[in-house]
Amino acid sequence: MYSASDLRKNLRIMLDDDPYIVVDFQFVKPGKGQSLYRCKLRNMLTGSQMDRTFREVDTFQPAETEEKNMQYLYKEGGSYHFMDNESFEQIALTEEQVGDAKNFLIENMECKVLLFRDRPIDITLPNFVDVVVTEAPPWIKGDTVSGNYKPVLVETGYKVSVPPFIEQGQKIRIDTRTGEYLTRVKE
């Protein structure tokens, strides 16, 4: 069980029988009075946000979430299909639930899916993914000035800034937490 003084950004708690994540948090204490904890919370099922102020005496259950290793299979319409590595059961996530991770999902990729009472609510990717550059403006030879980055398109449809020597068909590594180019991958 959590108490209000445990509240912090990204904590997942149960409220009114729904799982919420704390997206913003502020400590308030007037005069010699009791401490207040102002929170902005997002319902992890519906995505809707709300403001709530908690008092020191308030307590919370942690959100009963469970993380499972899954393999990304394919996208169909607005649905992203995954397979449970243990039970081989398949589930689908909406584009909203997948969020920014959609920029880095490659078929057969291993990832972690967060479930609440067997309903998928979030997804965590490996920190680094290797993707093929599908579209890149040509390299103007001789242009080696550092800081001179150019935008390219990768196989997932994601646009990223890379150094000028990266060419179409090459593989690059991206940090999924920041969405930034890291290095060229030599086959």
């Binding site: 400590f27 308030v28 005069g31 010699k32 207040l36 102002r38 020191e56």
Partner: protein
């Protein structure tokens, strides 16, 4: 930003802090106050419902110098001030540091109304010493520090800015919530506000207002929505103070926090204490005002996270 960069960027605020400390000392010395130093580490803090001290061995770091300074008052030191480092457990936010600086002063023979005037004089003195004249700017808006400041009772503030009446807020045990979230943001926007006459339960060390047994002679200064200082006419009735401490300890127990031992030496000194008024002012927040800072982090050399 690197740690060294952050520290470097605070130079102006830290210079303002030093200037303010010089001005504060000059103000009190010019009025015949004695600067005192009392121990920071004490056997036990005063029992207050919502102030938690930080343990230091089997003793505690003081959450304010109130206990020792009132004992000095009782021994005849009639005008004293102190600039003290203080510690409070679990207080951390844009306006709170677990280690912070309080300016606390006491004056025998005066009450909370005299103290309100002295606060006006102090802030003006500091402002002039810093070259700001009688006005400062807070988030781009000018605040006029000239006398007299606006005086409103807590009841009036609830009527003016609150969504419920004071009685209802008290009945629902949501006084602080309405005060902090609905009322405070409106206080001291163009002129400082002296918010006064608190419900008795919120002034456990303050004198009861003569003729009004439900009200404590306590006030707070607000400037630009920022709570700056908390003062009162001191309670000098040792029996009444003991009962209030017992009540505060009951609240502590309900909160799951340890009750503090009854401060017998303090209570003994209280009966010898003359009628007086005392106040604690947050020095870090005062620096925030004059440095135009929006977070307390910007006015100290190191936050606990940066050491």
């Amino acid at each position: 930003m690197s740690a060294a960069c952050k520290l470097g960027a605070r130079r102006r605020a830290l210079e303002t802090r030093a200037d303010i400390l010089h001005a504060v000392r000059a103000f009190f010395l010019s009025r015949g106050y004695l600067e005192v130093e009392t121990p920071n580490r004490i056997p036990a803090p005063l029992p207050e419902s919502h102030i938690d001290a930080i343990p230091s061995g089997s003793w505690w770091l003081h959450p304010s110098p109130e206990l020792c300074m009132k004992r000095m008052l009782g021994a005849g030191y009639d005008r004293i001030f102190q600039i003290a480092k203080c510690w409070r457990e679990r207080e951390r936010g844009p306006l709170h540091l677990p280690e912070f600086t309080l300016l606390e002063w006491y004056c025998a023979g005066s009450d909370y109304r005299d103290l309100m005037e002295e606060c006006e004089d102090l802030l003006l003195y500091v402002s002039v010493a810093l070259g700001a004249g009688d006005g400062i700017s807070c988030r781009g808006l000018p605040i006029d520090l000239s006398k007299p400041w606006e005086r409103i009772t807590v009841r009036e503030a609830f009527e003016r800015y609150g969504s419920v009446a004071l009685e209802q807020a008290l009945a629902e045990d949501r006084f602080e919530e309405f005060l902090a979230l609905e009322i405070e943001p409106h206080l001291g926007i163009s002129k400082p506000v002296l918010l006064y006459d608190y419900p008795l339960a919120f002034g456990s060390l303050a004198r009861t207002k003569p003729g009004d047994p439900r009200t404590a002679e306590r006030f707070e200064i607000y400037i630009g929505g920022l709570e700056l200082a908390n003062g009162f006419s001191e309670l000098t009735d040792a029996g009444e103070q003991r009962r209030r401490f017992e009540k505060e300890n009951e609240t502590r127990t309900r909160r799951g926090c340890p009750p503090y031992p009854m401060p017998e030496n303090f209570l003994a000194a209280l009966s010898r204490m003359p009628d007086s008024a005392g106040i604690a002012l947050g020095v870090d927040r005062l620096v925030m005002l004059f440095a135009g800072a929006s977070s307390i982090d910007e006015v100290v050399a190191f936050t606990p996270e940066e050491i």
